[in-house]
């Protein structure tokens, strides 16, 4: 049996990509370059699609692959990583580490069946507001064409029409030491347990 997972087809169910599908994309920016570029795009009133929600890190070198995987597992359709141009990192050379992590991440998510185009890397200096806006627009359209990723949620809300809450209540609920959230409520994956 092959150890490689077959890459899932671009749009699920083989249907045509939904033209009204609005991707939800998480973007990681660095405080000194790409976040400032986004701010510059704002000050210049450059318009771009509203699909990317940006997180500010101090440096692209802070980018932990955990963040990218967390974003996918929480429902993002794509992740955008951005930082200073190689050679211009405010912290000298940290974006090279980000670049290498990005490469390895992309290979791994591809092995897990996520289209590599759902993880994109854009370098943008603090002066490149318009360019960043254009790249965001480009990525949004590429992801729109791929369709929703729709990664399943860790905590199950409803399966096969069964009200799982009722099931848990009937089987003793909390008293039996059962988790408050039914199904796969792994404390590691829920918001509460990260303390």
């Amino acid at each position: 049996m092959s150890t490689q997972a077959p890459v899932a087809s671009a749009s699920a169910e083989g249907a045509a990509p939904d033209a009204t599908f609005e991707p939800v994309i998480i973007g990681f920016t660095c405080n000194w370059c790409s976040y400032r570029a986004a701010d510059l795009a704002g000050t210049a009133r450059t318009k771009y699609p509203p699909n990317v929600r940006l997180i500010r890190l101090m440096c692209s070198g802070r980018l932990d692959p955990t963040f990218v995987l967390k974003a996918f597992s929480e429902g993002a359709d794509a992740v955008l990583v951005s930082g200073c141009h190689p050679g211009e990192c405010h912290y000298i050379e940290q974006n090279y580490k980000a670049l290498r992590r990005f490469h390895l991440l992309q290979r791994t998510i591809e092995a897990l069946g996520i289209e590599p185009a759902r993880l994109q890397l854009v370098w943008a200096s603090a002066a490149e507001g318009v360019r960043l806006a254009n790249e965001i627009a480009r990525v949004t359209e590429e992801v729109r064409a791929l369709g929703p990723l729709n990664w399943p949620a860790a905590s199950i809300v409803d399966v096969d029409g069964m009200e799982l809450d009722a099931v848990w209540e009937a089987t003793g609920g909390d008293a039996g030491g059962l988790p408050a959230t039914p199904g796969g409520a792994n404390p590691k994956h829920g918001a509460e347990a990260i303390k």
């Binding site: 070198g61 929480e74 141009h85």
Partner: protein, 684 residues
């Protein structure tokens, strides 16, 4: 801890409210983020105003809030404002988060519904993040009152004198044998036509003799360690082979030295100097240097004339490089520029056609102390030119070489036109693209030169050639140019052509930047903290830039920047202590296995490996808070304050709790099997 979070959504007039439905976002937050701990949610026209800030301060006291989220403009604008308001309410300022719904939302999107939905998502992200914020205190560091100035040109000298005059110690390190920089090479300065040496040398002397200045010429910075207020700098003072303490600057050694070499530095290759030399007569210090690779004593063991004639017995062939360690609190980098190498434009013939000169070469020609005693003559050293062409924008404003404008060449070219007319009867033609004369007195200078009667051709010179085609072109340099004002191609014969070559970053600029821990752009210009509002600071605390190191500029701007950098440094020295943002990484030794993956993650050398304990350790003072090591650690043993895993993972959850339409993001579930039979059995 039970969170009690206050949420404040700013209208910013109509900047936000015109696109984002702020009332709806506020209402939504109050209702949907209650489980996350939101107890009060308000919207207000201008949160940054006094009454706006008071909302925060008062609510903290009245509602016992322990976290604040302000959804408004960019944190780069008002993070401090709201942190201060939070502190006034009695809460640790780092428990306040800013969410940008202006630059990142209302200003960049047109679809109001989508922008409102995005604002909800961004706010949810901020709320989830702030729940994981920890109270922090800024880190206080002492400031060493000594300052290092790197580069002894006009900007560096400016900075040095300001600080020294204020009563504080300055180490001025210059890699040439003398301070003065490029300005010392010029003949006259625009627009006043002051003699460059006349206005510069008094400053050079002042710097060289100031009791608070320790001048280290023929020296280079090799290593910089430490952090603001506490830098340890390693300087290599190269061997001059002349004892500085004994030398009295009489100059006899230079007179008597029988050996001359081409001077490619100060004389720009136009003249020669002795092997034991000071770069120019007014050099500071007046102590000469022996050019070892060209000295027959060092190469063959012969001569020793300088030693014979030196009354002060200052010649010391055994002298060695000295490595000095300096402790300084702040550093000002003023290392200047290099001239664009005009040989890179072969069609201009520089280096091949003898009478094509660069700007620096021409400055040396004009200089009274230069190789031709100030006579403007051709390369043969005697013939004055009858026709001179001055080409602007050589290597500047050119997609093939440097796209930027070098700022000073137009004025410099006009100055050359004036100087040629002053010293010869030659006809002068300036070949320009635009005339850039923005400074004080610059436009007036342009008028003056126009009145003096030069020709001006608007067009980028295509070629300078000696291949004559038409009568009158023999033995001349022909400038081939499109005259855009007449719309014609022209061939204009010249005796002499001067190329106003552009300014470029110094050859070792990127290495220099790395050594000092600052960034430079792709071209090599040092990057300032903010190009508009903070042009002399860099992103690295304690390191400042002045003069052309950060980009082409004229002498008044360089002097102003030198003084500005000095003022910033003096401010720090006067305060004696500084607050640093407490964004730092820490290794938890109990979880560290000593795998050493993190050891190469820090460009500031803040991470060291403790052999005895078998763990890695981070020097908090040197840590700049980038977080790279936090992300790299395979054991998760490094944590970072301010941008912890907990905070960011929570922010991701919050951002993804809202879909593109403003409703909760629709999720599917992992497939699972269910049987009635199983459920019954479990119920049993």
């Amino acid at each position: 801890m039970t969170e009690r979070i206050g949420v404040y959504v700013c209208h910013c007039g109509t900047n936000i409210a015109g696109v984002v439905d702020v009332a709806e976002v506020t209402r939504w937050a109050a209702e949907n983020l209650r489980d996350q701990g939101v107890v009060v949610a308000r919207d207000y026209k201008f949160m940054c105003s006094s009454p706006g800030q008071d909302l925060v301060t008062d609510d903290i006291k009245e509602y016992g809030l322990n976290r604040i989220v302000v959804a408004a403009c960019s944190p780069h604008l008002h993070e401090n404002t709201f942190r201060t308001a939070t502190a006034r309410g009695g809460l640790n300022p780092y428990l306040c988060e800013l969410v940008s719904i202006r630059e990142q939302d209302s200003w960049v999107h047109t679809d109001k519904a989508a922008a409102t939905a995005k604002a909800k998502a961004l706010l949810a992200g901020g709320v989830e993040r702030v729940r994981r914020n920890e109270p922090m205190e800024p880190i206080k560091v002492d400031i060493n009152p000594a300052t290092l100035v790197v580069g002894g040109g006009i900007a560096g000298i400016s900075a040095t004198l300001e600080i020294a005059d204020a009563g504080f110690k300055v180490y001025l390190v210059e890699k040439s044998p003398s301070i003065g920089g490029h300005m010392a090479q010029f003949d006259k300065t625009f627009p006043t036509l002051d003699c460059a040496a006349c206005i510069l040398t008094p400053k050079m002397v002042a710097a060289g003799t100031h009791p608070n200045v320790e001048l280290m010429t023929w020296s280079e910075v090799e290593k910089v360690e430490g952090y603001v207020g506490n830098f340890t700098v390693t300087v290599r003072k190269k061997a001059r082979y002349v004892n500085e303490d004994l030398c009295n600057g009489c100059g006899v050694c230079q007179e008597k030295c029988p050996w001359k070499v081409l001077d490619g530095d100060f004389e720009a290759g136009m003249g020669r100097r002795k092997v034991i030399y000071t770069p120019f007569d007014q050099a500071v210090p007046r102590v000469p240097v022996i050019d070892r690779p060209n000295c027959p004593y060092f190469q063959k063991g012969t001569c020793r004339a300088c030693e014979k004639f030196c009354d002060a017995k200052a010649i010391d062939y055994m002298q060695e490089d000295q490595i000095l360690t300096l402790q300084v609190g702040n550093i000002i980098i003023a290392t200047g520029y290099d001239l664009f190498d005009a040989r890179r434009i072969p069609q201009y013939g520089y280096g091949r056609l003898p009478n094509v000169f660069t700007s620096l070469e021409f400055e040396r020609l004009c200089s009274a102390a230069g190789p031709t005693n100030g006579n403007v003559v051709l390369r043969d050293g005697k013939t004055p030119p009858k026709t001179v062409g001055i080409v602007h924008c050589v290597g500047s404003r050119d997609q093939n070489y440097n796209g930027y404008c070098s700022a000073i060449c137009c004025m410099q070219s006009l100055k050359f036109a004036h100087l040629v007319r002053e010293r010869t009867d030659a006809e002068v033609t300036n070949f320009y693209i635009d005339m850039r004369t923005p400074g004080k007195g610059y436009e007036e200078f342009y008028d003056r030169v126009l009145e003096e009667g030069g020709h001006f051709v608007r067009g980028k010179v295509a070629e300078i050639t000696d291949a004559a085609r038409l009568p009158g072109e023999e033995d001349k340099l022909i400038i081939q140019v499109e005259d855009t004002l007449t719309g014609k191609q022209r061939r204009i014969p010249m005796d002499m052509v001067i190329l106003s070559a552009g300014l470029e970053p110094r050859a070792g600029a990127k290495d220099l930047a790395t050594r000092f821990g600052i960034s430079c752009s792709f071209d090599g210009w040092a990057i300032e903290k903010h190009p508009k509002l903070d042009p002399v600071a860099t992103m690295t605390e304690g390191v400042f830039v002045a003069g052309c190191v950060s980009g082409p500029k004229d002498i008044p701007a360089s002097v102003a920047q030198g003084a500005a950098a000095a003022a910033r440094v003096l401010g720090r020295i006067q305060q004696k202590q500084m607050n640093l943002e407490p964004i730092k990484a820490t290794v938890y030794a109990e979880h560290c296995s000593g795998c050493r993956i993190c050891n190469t993650m820090c460009p500031y050398n803040a991470i060291s490996f403790l052999e005895a304990e078998g763990v890695s350790s981070i020097n908090a003072a040197m840590c700049q808070g980038c977080g790279t090591c936090v992300a790299a650690c395979p054991a998760g043993a490094i944590s970072g304050t301010g941008f912890s895993d907990e905070q960011i993972l929570a922010q991701i959850e919050g951002l993804l709790s809202v879909g593109a339409d403003g409703a909760p993001l629709k999720r599917t579930a992992y497939p699972e099997t269910h049987h009635e039979a199983i459920e019954e059995a479990v119920r049993a």
